[in-house]
Each structure stands twice: as C-alpha cells, then as structure tokens.
Subunit: 329 residues, 2 copies
C-alpha cells in the first residue's frame, strides 16, 4: 500500500444481482467494515436506482468516516463493460435495457471517486487475486458454477477483457459439436454451460436416472424438481447415481480446462459457486478429467482450487477488489 | 524509439528450424540489412552449434558496423522456453535432447547483448505486432498452419506465455471428442492440428476422395502422395473436391476461433503459413465457420487477416521482433 492508501483505506464494492444490490465498504485485507443493500428491481429508471443506492450508501460511508476515506468503487454486474463503464442491454434488469453509464453515474454522485464495473465472474477473479487463494498468482482462471457458467481469466497479472471488454465467456466454449449437443441459453448447442451449470447438472441427473435402473435417493424426487443441490446432498451420502452425475460433470469441466491450459497455461483453476461445496466429490472428477486429457507438457502443473472467498460476501469482495485495481493502474 | 535505439539501430533474428538456421540483422522497420545461415543439425553438441553460428554471424555483424550497433537478439525455435531462455527436450534437434541454455550461450558470445527465445508461432505473433498487420493491436491471435498448427496469443499488448512459458498451444485444443477424433502427433485424439495441419488437410483429402465418386484433379495423384499444396492448386482451378476439403478445414478452424473468441475476444485472427496462400478459398470458409458458430456478442467484431510478413523472411523477422520486445521491457 502506498502513502495515499493509508489516508483512503477503503473501497466500496457493489454486487449488483438480479434481485438484490449489496454494498460493502472493504479494507485492503478484505475485511468488510460496513454493508447495506437495496432491491435491484424496485426502480423504473437507472437514475432512481442510483438515487436510492447513494442514499443507502451515504449511511455506511459516514460510518467509516466519510467519502474522504474511500479510494474507489468497484461494481460486479450483468452485461457490464469494463472499458465503457456501462451496463449494456441487460435483459434481466428493469432499468438496464439500453446503455446505462453506471460507473459515471456513481462517480458523479460520490464526489468523483473512480468507479469501475465488470461482470461478476471477472470480479470474482480479481477478488481471488486481491484477497483469496490467487494472491501472488499472475496466471489463473476462475470458473464460476452457478445458474450459468462464467469465467474470469488472469494473464500476466491482468484480467483479460479482450478488445471489446467481453472476453472470458468460457461457459460458451463448445464441448459437444453437432446435433448431439445440448441446447444452451445462448441459442447455440453443446456449450460447457449446458452441461455444468446448475440447470445443466439437473438435466444430467434426469438423463442418467432415466437410462439407469440403479436405485438412488434422487428417485424420491420428481425428476423436474431435482436441483444440483439435491445431487450434492445425495452424492455426500454415497449415492451411486449422484456420484455418476458428478463424474460426468467433472469430466466435462476437466476436459474444458485441458483446452484452457492450451490457451493460457494458468498455474491454477479456481472454482467458485454452489457446486463446489461438494468438495472432493466434484473436484476429484474435474482433476481426473483434466489429467486424462491434457497435453503432456501441462500435466501435473496446474492446481485445482476452491474459491478462498467467503460464500456470503464473496461477490461484494470481488466487486470491491476492482476498486483496488483502478488504483493500481 | 528512444535515444539509445538511434545508437543501436538493429536486432538479430534467428529462425532456428529443423533443417536450417537463418540469421538476419533487422532494423526497426523490419528491413533486413544482412542475412546468413548455417545447417541446424550439422553439429553434435550445442556448443559446436553456437560456435558455428557466431562465426557466421560475426561476418554480417561486421557488415552493419559491429556488435555495438546491435541492441538484442531474438530466437524462434522449437521447444523454446521464454522464461528460462532454454531449449528443452527438443526431439528433432540432434544437440537439443536435454536442456540447452541457448539464450545465455549466444549472449555470452555476443558481448552480453540481451537474447530472448520463444517458439516460432509466438515469434510470428510478435513479428505481426512489430512489422506486420497487427501493428497497433493489443488483442489478437496468430495461427500458424504448417506441418503442425501453432499459435501466438497477444492479450493487452503482451504475448501470453502462461505460468510455465508454454501457453498458446491452440493446435491442441480438442475439436472432436471421443473415439471419432483423429489421432494426433501429441498422442491424443481430435486435436485441431490433426485436421488443419498440412498432413491433416492431406488426410481430409484422402477421406473425402474415398467417400465420393465426384471427379477431381486430385484423383490423378496417388492418394498417399497428395499434399495440402496439391489441394490448394486444385482448389484454385475450381476443383469441387478440393474446395470441399477447404470448406471442411475452414469450418473446423472457424469453429475453433469461435471458442478462442470466448476466451480472449481478440480484434483479429491472423493466419500464417502455406495453406493461406490459397487466399479467399480458405479464408472464406474460415469466416463462415466462425460466423455460423460464434457467440452473439462477438459476431461481426473480429477481423480475419492473412499474415503481413513476407513469406521467405517471415520467420527471421518474427524472431528479430523478440529482440525489440526485450528492450521494450
């Protein structure tokens, strides 16, 4: 930390989700000093949203000693473009259908502090580098396993944004080509996300249950109600079918990581999200899929890690870490 | 160029190939001022190779005014590790089976000038950025189509070496999973290289000729003698089968580029090597394969370019460009 950072010891993180917008004021160690939240969707315009956000923020800013203690703000949000500072055509935000210059809007209302914005998977990657298991690493990939499959890629110590700000969509590399590929939410087929997102895992569960006659705890549930959490719980109890589902999912992720190694040869793959709460039950199949498939020169070199950020506040921490990044530049 | 570069206006490039080692002294515009060459394999030890190389080099160094005019040296070589400066276990070099600290060996013999080494595809990428069609670009990917399929990836204006120096092996991403995949020289199956290298294209030719009864100029050749150059020549004459071979190859490359876009969202894909001499006959199928397959947010954004480096001297120029890179750091 340089001299200035002792004067301005905090950054603001905003995890802008589809339902809630959670704010945290965070120090350089990743300790959250104060938090607040508003509903994301309760506003018709982006101006009204920012008004409400700044009203809520002001209270916690005052708690830590005022805006002069704040170095910068980072926002993790859907359809966020790091280069422009805009949210662009976010289909799931009431007030986000067009181009919303959210970074500038917050900066203007917060005394001109620097504000940067990126998507949540990129925020997670910077969070891991700042406070988590990637501290000191220069080349790694974070893969977020949630409703979708996202990724944040770090090369030479910098996040990979690409020429347009939209790099790191590893959920949409093609794993199964041609007609056999599962349909994906992106309109194409065979994407990694179609197999390894929460809904992808649930679909795998239904497919494997249908093909097999093996007894399983998952048979107590209606097929259409099975979630990836149910699979995790059953796998934890030693359920064979549930473990088969994880083996299929892990193999797919491991083989995808083998391709990613051929791209950027990271020292670690870091997994984030609900699925990795299953621990070795999912991580071992991932590692096996990778080892069985990766090019010889990469074998045995990469670590496979679980996110070091605390689940509940991980997204806010990730967002706040973007604030430190601005200052590092 | 800074002040020093007006005093030391040249770099040495060495294209260390399996047969010949070609040296060039190059200025900052990419003009080759002097060249020489030795046989790569005519030496039993790396010391004997470097002795012969420096003897040959000394003559052209003197031609440009002596070693004081040389800023640095760049080497493009197989199995080269940028971080260590070594050639590591190069199976095709008589004197390269172990660890050969080639960068240090040349530096020691050339008055201590900085020497850097990398593989030929990475050298091509730096060459394009320094003298070629990627001047001014910060995010692009060079794909070399030759005996193998290689790649050099630039992100944020820097070459991607990965944590171990071996990143950018895009010839070995898996395009066809499972038993259907063609066997690849790397010992695995389904790699991009197994389809789009010179031997891959020749294999596609044999497969398509066998399946079809369509007349073709290629039927005048023995199937085992068909080369990718024969396919290019036939395609140029409007041969249907030859164009079908290019469509298959281009589709595979285009779909691979769609995955690469999801990774680093480059502003351009630059193709290098014998195959691209066919021009639009191969480039159009590549673009179509990409457009048909890429994620919506990337559609229409990337350029598809043919290398801007002159074929005969491209490898030496690429290698020399690494020399300027050292100085930029």
């Amino acid at each position: 930390m340089n001299e200035k950072s002792t004067i301005k010891p905090y950054v603001i993180g905003l995890d802008l989700g589809g339902t809630n917008s959670v704010f945290g004021i965070v120090d350089s160690r990743g300790d959250i000093k104060a938090t607040t939240a508003i509903k994301t969707q309760g506003y018709e315009t982006s101006e009204a949203y920012v008004d409400a956000a700044v009203d809520a923020l002001q209270i916690i800013i005052d708690q830590v000693g005022g805006i002069d203690k704040i170095k910068a703000m980072g926002i993790g949000a859907p359809n966020a473009n790091y280069y422009t500072g805009n949210i662009e055509h976010a289909p799931n935000l009431v007030w986000g259908k067009g181009i919303v210059p959210l970074a500038k809007m917050f900066s203007d209302r917060l005394g001109g502090i620097p504000v940067a914005i990126t998507n949540d998977a990129n925020a997670a990657a910077i969070g891991e580098m700042t406070y988590g298991v990637a501290r000191g690493m220069k080349n790694f990939i974070v893969i977020t396993l949630g409703t979708g499959v996202g990724s944040g890629i770090v090369v030479n110590g910098q996040l990979v944004y690409g020429h347009d700000g939209f790099a790191g969509e590893l959920g949409h590399v093609t794993m199964v080509r041609g007609e056999e590929g599962r349909s994906c939410g992106c309109g194409r087929t065979g994407c990694l996300e179609a197999y390894c997102s929460a809904t992808g895992v649930a679909r795998t569960a239904r497919e494997i249950l249908e093909k097999s006659t093996e007894p399983s705890l998952l048979r107590d549930l209606k097929p259409e109600d099975i979630t990836s959490l149910d699979v995790s719980i059953a796998a934890g109890k030693g359920d064979k079918i549930a473990n088969e589902i994880f083996e299929f999912t892990g193999k797919m992720l491991g083989e995808a990581c083998a391709d990613f190694a051929a791209f950027s040869s990271p020292e670690a793959f870091i997994f984030f999200g609900g699925l990795v709460k299953a621990g070795d039950l999912i991580m071992n199949p991932i590692k096996k899929g990778y080892d069985d498939h990766v090019l010889n020169i990469f074998k045995g070199k990469a670590q496979f890690l679980i996110s070091g950020l605390d689940g509940a506040s991980a997204a806010v921490l990730g967002a706040s870490a973007i604030g430190w990044e601005i200052n590092a530049q």
